[in-house]
């Protein structure tokens, strides 16, 4: 009984949060300057009568709360509404998510593999030229503006060397995703490697690692099992949060590399004041952030047995 009541309470809370957030987003889109219909045709403005008919069609003449009420009514029936081009928002999102997910996971995998490797190497070679060199390199790389890195990598790998496609997704995974994912990963690398290095340095000098060494375990087992597992927590926390961020779609990268993902959809939708699209995509993003925060907790539990007891 008690758990059921608690669950209901929890769900009601979630529903309230959902309503509040979607309404605020709706309000924000509504508050953008300018009339979306008037700007529909760029510098060829529409006739007054056409504008009036379009405003009627998209309920833009109704007060904001009434528009929102209509939107909620559709939502209950699983209808997320349509944009000004008449395309259902659900369909738009369905066609965009696979691109963003593929991009995010590729970038994430690169961050994990390369970031952790750099951090471990730095920790093992603490204080040497390798340590300082890798630190300087990752920090420097992450200081270059993403836009510059994107365009330069296109010029080098796409045009000059001609190894990878410049843009678009028509070569599929992995060819089309390596370059943009690599650019994104560069920015995560410095954080992941620094967190990994710090934790690893600490673990390596911890008593239990010294004890393991004293018992005669080889360096592979000491580093790979004893030190690594305990050093993963900070980097893993960062990586889990980062995945949520990556799945939100990276507007700049998707733009430069012409990837039709959700970041782009959201950017275009905000530019053209497409209320239903903005709310639909943002809601999905909120859900993703909720899921990744659960994921972060789960990772902590998995890596740190002390938390399980509490």
């Amino acid at each position: 009984m008690r758990t059921a009541a608690k669950a209901v309470q929890r769900l009601a809370g979630l529903a309230l949060v959902f309503l509040g957030v979607t309404f605020v987003i709706y309000l924000a889109v509504f508050a953008l300057p300018g009339d979306p219909i008037r700007a529909l045709a760029g510098d060829k403005p529409l006739e007054a009568s056409t504008v009036a008919a379009l405003r009627l069609k998209y309920n833009l003449d109704l007060p904001i709360w009434e528009q929102y009420w209509l939107y909620l009514g559709g939502l209950v029936k699983g209808d997320l509404g349509a944009d000004f081009k008449g395309r259902p928002v659900l369909e738009l999102m369905a066609s965009r998510w696979p691109v963003t997910i593929a991009l995010a996971l590729t970038a994430w995998a690169l961050e994990i593999v390369i970031g952790l490797a750099i951090g471990i190497v730095q920790a093992l070679r603490k204080g040497t030229v390798i340590d300082h060199g890798l630190l300087a390199l990752t920090v420097l790389a992450s200081c270059v503006p993403v836009f510059v890195l994107g365009v330069v990598s296109q010029q080098v790998f796409g045009v000059k060397l001609d190894w990878l496609p410049v843009a678009g997704v028509r070569d599929g995974w992995p060819a089309s995703y390596v370059l943009p994912a690599g650019v994104i990963a560069v920015f995560g690398l410095s954080a992941v490697s620094r967190l990994m290095r710090g934790a690893m340095v600490e673990s390596l000098s911890a008593d239990y690692v010294r004890a393991a060494r004293a018992r005669g375990f080889g360096p592979g087992r000491v580093v790979g099992v004893h030190a690594l597992r305990n050093s993963l927590i900070p980097a893993a926390t960062y990586l889990a949060t980062d995945l949520g961020y990556l799945l939100g779609g990276t507007v700049i990268i998707e733009g430069i590399f012409n990837l039709p993902g959700v970041g782009n959809l959201l950017f275009e939708a905000i530019r053209t004041h497409e209320g239903p699209t903005v709310v639909g995509v943002s809601t999905a993003l909120i859900v993703i952030f909720l899921i990744t925060s659960v994921l972060v907790d789960a990772i902590h539990l998995g890596l740190d047995p002390r938390l399980r007891r509490a």
Binding site: L32, P33, G34, D35, P36, R38, A39, L40, A41, G42, D43, K44, P45, L46, E47, A48, S49, T50, A52, A53, L54, K57, K85, G86, R87, E91, L92, S95, R96, V99, V151, Q154, Q155, G158, V159, D162, W163, L164, P165, V166, A167, G168, R170, D171, G172, W173, P174, A175, V178, E254, G255, I256, F257, N258, P260, N264, L265, E268, R271, H273
Partner: protein, 542 residues
């Protein structure tokens, strides 16, 4: 990853070529179907297909699109069209005649079909036009039918329509229909050309499911849609075997949508896309990167600066003239466009047939001393002056340049003010919250009529950009020019119109446009008319 793919393609092409040679000729092979996901890069290049960079289309219904022209001109054929020599030719029409320039008889060519096999008939046109002109459909190109009798009933400015069909359209027989216009207009055949997509035909099949038609239009043009358009994906069209017009030189076009035109440019540099448009301000670097493969096309568009009619500071015509004389068009053209645009000396693009070049006279010539004394004579301008333009479209440099020149040459406080986007830009003009505005008009058909009517009459679509300019004398002169019996007479008429407008000097004419395209080395030549590339008739290299 990509190198082997390219190699593969080269091998495949060589194999196809060898096969074709051994068979001794044969036309285009029809085997370039779907290559499937993850196929070799640049799959669009198979056979004699090309890829073209475009911006995401909006609608593919001709009566309701504003940014899908490149696709529509491939899928549909207009009644009339400009040829390479910029002369009007009949395409789907066999003839377009009128005794009095009020009632026009349009005869269609026999034997043309839509891509579903349905014959193109007079009814295909009348139904499509009625649909476009019906107000509650809210199709954005409805205004192209404004001069047909009955438009005020199907699309009244206010209130409910009182008719569902245009009274001025009559089907005579299968291949003939008549159009009755509100006033005499000898330019009507020009209006039927490719730019006015609201006057394209639609098959009966379209009305069964207009939403489906919007994604998968069935046209009467040289190419048919390979599959329905999906957001974020290429739009692929392939040659229509039963096309009754001139056969296209290529078998397939991949319209590739780009979010960022700079990316399209880099893709063209890598040879991944065959034709891409380039922003005017990038001309210098494009000339360096592409050399001969940078194409500069004379376009029917004009740029100008308009004034807020409610701002008393600009009410004296001498102030507006002084502003115009204080702008060094040639210097801006050199500095920002590397000389690729055309400094204006009239209100229409210099390539527009009969454009009265030089009619603007000394007021379009740079003369800072005269400008300054004229402004002083008019009492000067107090306070800050802002030039409003839409931000984020690469216009920042040129508007900074306008502001700098006005500030230095007239010694007044002028700044360039970017609006965040189109919505804010149009909104500020609509609500009068501006001083000077950016104006532009791209004519839809090759007659001065379009630019002059759209910008300088109260009913014109672009009238807001000229501060709502209208003048009964100009209206009368325009009507006379429209009705002029010959082309030469109409040129005389439009010259008189421009002289009358320029006496009022409502805007500062700045530049006539040139559109820039870069091409891959697969393209030998682009054929174009009035600034638009005829993609179907691109000349391939080798």
């Amino acid at each position: 990853m990509k190198q082997p793919a390219k190699l593969q393609r080269a091998v495949a092409l060589a194999a196809v070529a060898a096969l074709a040679a051994s068979l001794g000729a044969c036309g285009q092979s029809k085997d370039d179907g779907d290559k499937g996901g993850g196929g070799p890069s640049g799959a669009a290049h198979a056979d004699t297909g090309i890829s073209v960079a475009i911006q995401e289309p909006d609608h593919l219904t001709p009566g309701n699109h504003y940014s899908s022209y490149e696709i529509l001109i491939a899928v549909f054929s207009p009644l009339t069209i400009l040829n390479d020599q910029e002369e009007l030719e009949f395409l789907q029409a066999e003839s377009v005649d009128s005794e009095d320039a009020i009632t026009w008889t349009i005869k269609l060519r026999d034997g043309w079909t839509f891509h579903n096999g349905e014959p193109v008939t007079a009814q295909s046109y009348v139904d499509a036009w009625n649909h476009t002109a019906y107000g509650p459909n809210a199709w954005v190109n409805s205004g192209q039918l404004r001069n047909v009798v009955g438009y005020d009933q199907t699309h009244p400015v206010e209130g409910e329509p009182t008719a569902t069909e245009l009274a001025g359209l009559k089907v005579v027989d299968d291949l003939t229909f008549t159009v009755e216009l509100v006033g005499a207009d000898r330019q009507f055949p020009f209006q039927l050309s490719d730019g006015q997509t609201g006057l394209y035909p639609m098959p009966q099949a379209a009305y069964e499911d207009l939403d489906a038609f919007d994604k998968l239009p069935i046209g009467n043009g040289p190419f048919k849609m390979a599959k329905a358009w999906e957001s974020g994906q290429d739009v692929v069209v392939e040659a229509y075997a039963d096309y009754a017009g001139p056969a296209p030189t290529i078998s397939q076009i991949n319209f590739r949508t780009y979010i960022d035109t700079d990316t399209a440019y880099t893709d063209a540099l890598a040879g991944e896309v065959d034709i891409a448009a380039v922003a005017g301000a990038k001309v210098a670097i494009a000339a360096q990167d592409f050399g001969e493969r940078l194409h500069s096309l004379d376009a029917p568009g004009v740029d100008f600066l308009g004034f807020n009619p409610a701002d008393e500071r600009f009410s004296d015509v001498r102030v507006r003239q002084a502003f115009s004389m204080a702008i060094d068009r040639a210097a801006i053209n050199e500095a920002i466009y590397s000389g690729a645009q055309i400094p204006s000396t009239s209100l229409t693009a210099s390539t527009m047939p009969g454009s009265p070049e030089g009619v603007c006279g000394k007021y379009c010539e740079f003369d800072p001393a005269a400008a300054k004394s004229l402004l002083e004579e008019a009492g000067g301008v107090e306070g800050a002056v802002e030039i409003l333009f839409p931000g984020g479209w690469g216009l920042e440099d040129v508007f900074e340049a306008y502001a700098n020149q006005l500030r230095q040459n007239l010694e007044i406080d002028v700044t360039a003010l970017p609006a965040t986007d189109w919505a804010e830009f149009t909104d500020k003009i609509a609500t009068g919250d501006y001083h000077i505005n950016r104006g532009r008009w791209g004519a839809l058909y090759p007659s001065q009529q379009d630019t002059l009517h759209s910008l300088y009459t109260a009913a014109g679509d672009g009238n807001f950009a000229t501060g709502g300019y209208s003048n009964p004398q100009v209206d009368a002169l325009l009507a006379a020019a429209d009705a002029a019996p010959t082309l030469e007479d109409s040129f005389e008429g439009y010259r008189a119109v421009q002289e009358a407008i320029l006496a009022d000097f409502p805007v500062i004419p700045t530049f006539g446009n040139r559109y820039l395209y870069v091409t891959s080395d697969r393209i030998a030549d682009l054929h174009s008319a009035a600034g638009s590339v005829r993609f179907a008739y691109v000349e391939l290299a080798g």
